[in-house]
Amino acid sequence: MLPAVAARGAAPGVDHYARQTAADRPGVAQPVPLRPVPRQPWGPILLGAVALLALLIAGWEGYWRSFGARPGYRNTYGLWAIQRRRIDAGEGNATVLVGASRIYYDIQLPVWERLDGRRPIQLAFEGTSPLPYLEDLAADQKFTGRVLIGVAPDLFFSGYEYRGGAVRYTRKETPSEFIGQRLSMRLIEPYLAFEDGDFSLATVLERQPWPERPGKHVFLDPRKLGYHDADRNSYLWDKVADDPEYHELWQRIWHDNFQPSPDDPTPAQALKTEKEQISRAARVVAKLRAHGVQVLFVRMPSSGEYLQFENAHFPRKRTWDALLAATGAAGIHFEDYPELQGYYLPEWSHMTRPEAERFTAALYGVIEREFWGPNASRPPAAKATAAQ
C-alpha cells in the first residue's frame, strides 16, 4: 500500500500520496482502499512524542499540585449511580442524604457512622434541588429507610437543577459507562490531581480575564470547592479557607452571582415557582411516607452575604415554614438550635472539614433527641398523609 516513490525531497506541489475516493468512481464496485503510510522514521517519532507527552503531563500535574490540588474522585453521575444502587442491593432501610452541596460538605459520613453505627448513602448534588432525587426514591418501593433533605433556599425553592440528570443516567447507564467509571476510579482518579473539571483546558482558558463584551456580563463561575471519597463523602478544599486569595475569590463569586441578571425570573414568576416546588415536595413526601419512609428536612447553615441574600429573596415564613406546613414533615432550621450555629463558613455557605465534623455530631444529636432516636421527643408519624 506504500507508494513506491518517497515523498520527502520530491518536487513541491506533487502529492505522491494522492488517491481516488469513491467519489471518483461512480457506479462501480469500490476496490480495496489505499492507506499509505507517510515515509518518516516513525519509531523515533513515537518515542519522541511519548517522552514529550510524559514531560508535559508531569509539568501539568506539578503545576496543579503546587496550586494545592491533590487527587480525588470525580463527582460524576457514575459515582452517584454506585451509591444509588446500594438501595437496590439490600440497603433499602438506610439513611439517605439528599440536597445540595451543603449537605455533602457539612455532613461527614465517618462521624455519622461512628455515632449511628451505619454509614448513610450520600445522594446530594451541588447546585441542585433535591426534588428530582426524592421523586426517584419515592418511586422505589425498595426504599423504606430515612431521608434527610437538605434545603438550600435558593436552589430548593427555585427548582434549579445544575446536576439533575443522575437518575436518568443511572437508569440508562451503558455497560461501557459502567466499566469506564470503575476503570477511571482505579487507574486515573486516585493518582492525578489535574483530573478535575475545574482544571480542564477549556475551563482554564475560559476563566482568563477576557474583556467583557458590551451588554454581556459574565458572572463569575464557581470554582473547585471540595473533594470526594469513593462513597461520595465530601469535604471542603483547605484552600478555600487557608488561601486568602482563593477565599476572597469565592466570596466575590457569590457576591457577583447575587446581582440581578436580565435572565432572572420576574417576582411573580419566582413566587409561582416557589409554590410549585412546595406542592411538588408535598406530593413526594406523601409518597415516601406511604411506603414507610421517615422524612426530615434540614435547613443547613449559611452566613454573611449568602444568608442576607437568602433572607431577602426566600424569606423563612414564605418558604421554609410553608414547606413544613404543606408537607406535614418535620424540619430542623439551624437558627432554631444553638448547637447548630456559630460554625465557620469561609465562603458563607460551606464548612471546613473540622467544622463539618463538629456540626455532624451536633446535628446527629438533635435528630436523635427530637426525631429519630428511640426516645425522640417529636417522632415523625409513619405512613401519615402529608397535608396538602
Binding site: H16, P38, P175
Partner: protein
C-alpha cells in the same frame, strides 16, 4: 462504546494484543468478530440481535441471488434484503416520526387520533450498518461483486468495530477481500495508525467538544433571541463542531483499522475548501454521498434521461439523504436545500460552460459555498423550524429584540478555531494529510503528536457521544 472513552482504550489494547498473538488467521478473525460484538453490546446488549438479523438476511439474500435462475427470483431476493433492512430502519428510526405525522395529518382533517406513545430506543449506528449490508446485496444483485466466500468474512465485514456505528460506510468489495489473507499491521502502520487516532480524538475531544459545542448550544438550545453576531458565531461554531466531530470519528476509525492492518477509505477531503456543491459532496461524508449516488441517484435515472428527470433524481436523493440523518423535517429541509444548491449549480454550469474563474473569484466562490453550507447547517442543528427561523433571522440581522448571548471568549474561540479550520482546508484542498506529514521534519511531527495527545488528556472530555451516532 465510544472511541473517546477509557473503556475503549482498554478494549483496543486487548484487541491489539490478541491480534498480534501467533494464532491461525481464522482464530484472529473470530477474535475480531467477538470483539466487534462486544464493542456494540457495550451500548445496549440486546441490539446485537439486530446486527445478527441484518447479517443473516443479507447473507442468505446474496446466496439466493447467486443461485437464482430467473430475473424475478433475483428481484425477490434483492427486495427481501431491502425490505428487511429498511423495515428495521423504518421501525426503529422513523416509527415514532411517521406516527406523529399521521396523528398531525388526522388532526388537520378534524379526526382526533391519539395513539399510544411508543418509547422506541434508536439502536446506535443502525443507519450505517444497514446501508453497509444493503450495499452487499445490491452489489451482488447488480453483478458488481461476488458474494463473500464464507459467513465469517461477511459477518466481520458487517460488524468490524472501527466502521460499525458511524462509518466510513464500507462496501463489501472494499473490506471482504482484506479478510481473505492474514493481515497484521507493520510497525509503521501501527505507529501511523496511532497518530491518526490521536488526530481524530484531538478533533473530537478538544476542538468539537471542549470549544465549539458549547457555543452552538448557548444559542441553539436556549430560548434567547440571537443577534447577527451570536447567530453567525453559533452557526460557524456548529459548522466546525460537526466537521471535527464526524471527521474526527472517521480519522480515529481509519487509524484503529490501520493499527490492525486493515485499510479503510477516506471519508472527508477538506470539505470547507469546496468550490460549489458538487465539489462539497465529493469532499464531505464521501462514503455516504457515493452510496446515495450509486444505489439511489443512478437507479433513479441519474443524468441519463434528460434534464427534468435528472433534477428529480437529484432532489429525491438529497431529500432522502436528509431524512437518513434523522427523523425530523428539519433534516429533510437540510437535504432539500443541498438538492436545490446542486440543481442551481448544475443549471449555472450548463449556462456558463466555458467560464473559468480567476484565483480571486475562485476563492470568493469557495467562501460563497461555505456561507451557503452554513445556512443549511441551521436546519441541521435547530431542533425545530421555529428555532431555525429565529437563528436565520438573527443571521440576517432582523431580530430586533436580540441581546448579546455569547461572551468575548466564546466569540474569540470560534473565530480562532473556525478561522484556522478554513485556512487549513484551503491550504490542503488539493493535497493529502500523508503528503503534509511526509514533508514535515520528524521532530515537528513528534512534537505535534505529543501536543495533540496532551491537549486530549488535559481537555478531560466527558466521553460524549459522536453526533453521527444518532443517525
Amino acid at each position: 462504546m465510544v472511541f473517546n472513552s477509557l473503556t475503549f482504550i482498554v478494549f483496543f489494547a486487548c484487541v491489539l494484543g490478541l491480534h498480534s498473538l501467533p494464532l491461525p488467521w481464522t482464530a484472529k478473525k473470530i477474535n475480531l468478530l467477538i470483539a466487534s460484538y462486544l464493542f456494540y453490546a457495550a451500548w445496549n446488549p440486546p441490539f446485537v440481535i439486530l446486527l445478527w438479523i441484518s447479517t443473516v438476511v443479507d447473507w442468505y439474500a446474496a446466496q439466493g441471488l447467486v443461485k437464482a435462475r430467473r430475473q424475478s427470483s433475483r428481484h425477490a431476493w434483492m427486495l427481501l434484503s431491502v425490505v428487511a433492512n429498511l423495515g428495521m430502519l423504518g421501525y426503529f428510526k422513523y416509527g415514532q416520526f411517521l406516527l406523529d405525522n399521521f396523528t398531525a395529518l388526522m388532526s388537520a382533517i378534524g379526526i382526533a387520533y391519539h395513539p399510544a406513545h411508543y418509547d422506541i430506543v434508536l439502536p446506535v449506528g443502525i443507519s450505517f450498518y444497514t446501508f453497509a449490508t444493503m450495499s452487499y446485496t445490491l452489489d451482488v444483485y447488480l453483478r458488481r461483486a461476488a458474494p463473500a466466500r464464507n459467513l465469517l468474512d461477511y459477518a466481520l465485514f458487517v460488524t468490524f468495530f472501527p466502521h460499525l456505528v458511524a462509518g466510513p460506510i464500507m462496501r463489501p468489495t472494499e473490506l471482504v477481500p482484506q479478510f481473505a489473507q492474514p493481515r497484521r499491521a507493520s510497525a509503521d502502520q501501527l505507529r501511523f495508525g496511532l497518530a491518526l487516532m490521536t488526530l481524530g480524538l484531538f478533533n473530537k475531544i478538544v476542538l468539537a467538544d471542549s470549544f465549539l459545542s458549547q457555543v452552538a448550544e448557548r444559542v441553539y438550545d436556549s430560548d434567547k433571541i440571537p443577534g447577527a453576531l451570536d447567530a453567525w458565531a453559533a452557526t460557524l461554531a456548529f459548522s466546525g463542531q460537526i466537521f471535527c466531530d464526524f471527521a474526527g470519528y472517521s480519522t480515529t476509525a481509519i487509524g484503529a483499522a490501520l493499527c490492525l492492518g486493515f485499510a479503510m477509505p477516506d471519508n472527508f477531503r477538506f470539505p470547507y475548501a469546496a468550490v460549489g456543491f458538487s465539489d462539497f459532496w465529493r469532499r464531505w461524508h464521501i462514503t455516504l454521498s457515493s452510496w446515495l449516488r450509486d444505489y439511489l441517484y443512478i437507479p433513479l435515472g441519474g443524468n441519463r434521461h434528460g434534464a427534468r428527470r435528472t433534477y428529480l433524481a437529484l432532489m429525491c436523493t438529497m431529500l432522502l439523504g436528509g431524512l437518513w440523518h434523522g427523523a425530523n423535517w428539519t433534516f429533510v429541509a437540510w437535504g432539500g436545500l443541498h438538492g436545490l444548491y446542486l440543481a442551481v449549480e448544475r443549471l449555472l454550469r450548463a449556462r456558463f460552460v466555458n467560464y473559468r474563474p480567476g484565483p480571486v473569484v475562485f476563492v470568493l466562490l469557495g467562501l460563497l459555498t461555505y456561507t451557503l453550507v452554513n445556512i443549511t447547517w441551521v436546519f441541521f442543528r435547530a431542533k425545530t423550524f421555529s428555532k431555525a427561523w429565529i437563528v436565520l433571522r438573527g443571521m440576517a440581522g432582523q431580530n430586533a429584540a436580540a441581546r448579546p448571548i455569547l461572551a468575548t471568549y466564546s466569540l474569540l474561540s470560534v473565530a480562532a478555531i473556525v478561522g484556522a479550520l478554513l485556512v487549513t482546508h484551503w491550504l490542503m484542498r488539493s493535497r493529502t494529510l500523508e503528503s503534509l506529514v511526509a514533508r514535515a521534519p520528524a521532530a515537528a511531527v513528534s512534537m505535534v503528536w505529543a501536543l495533540m495527545a496532551f491537549a486530549i488528556i488535559i481537555a478531560q472530555g466527558s466521553g460524549s457521544a459522536f453526533i453521527y451516532f444518532q443517525f
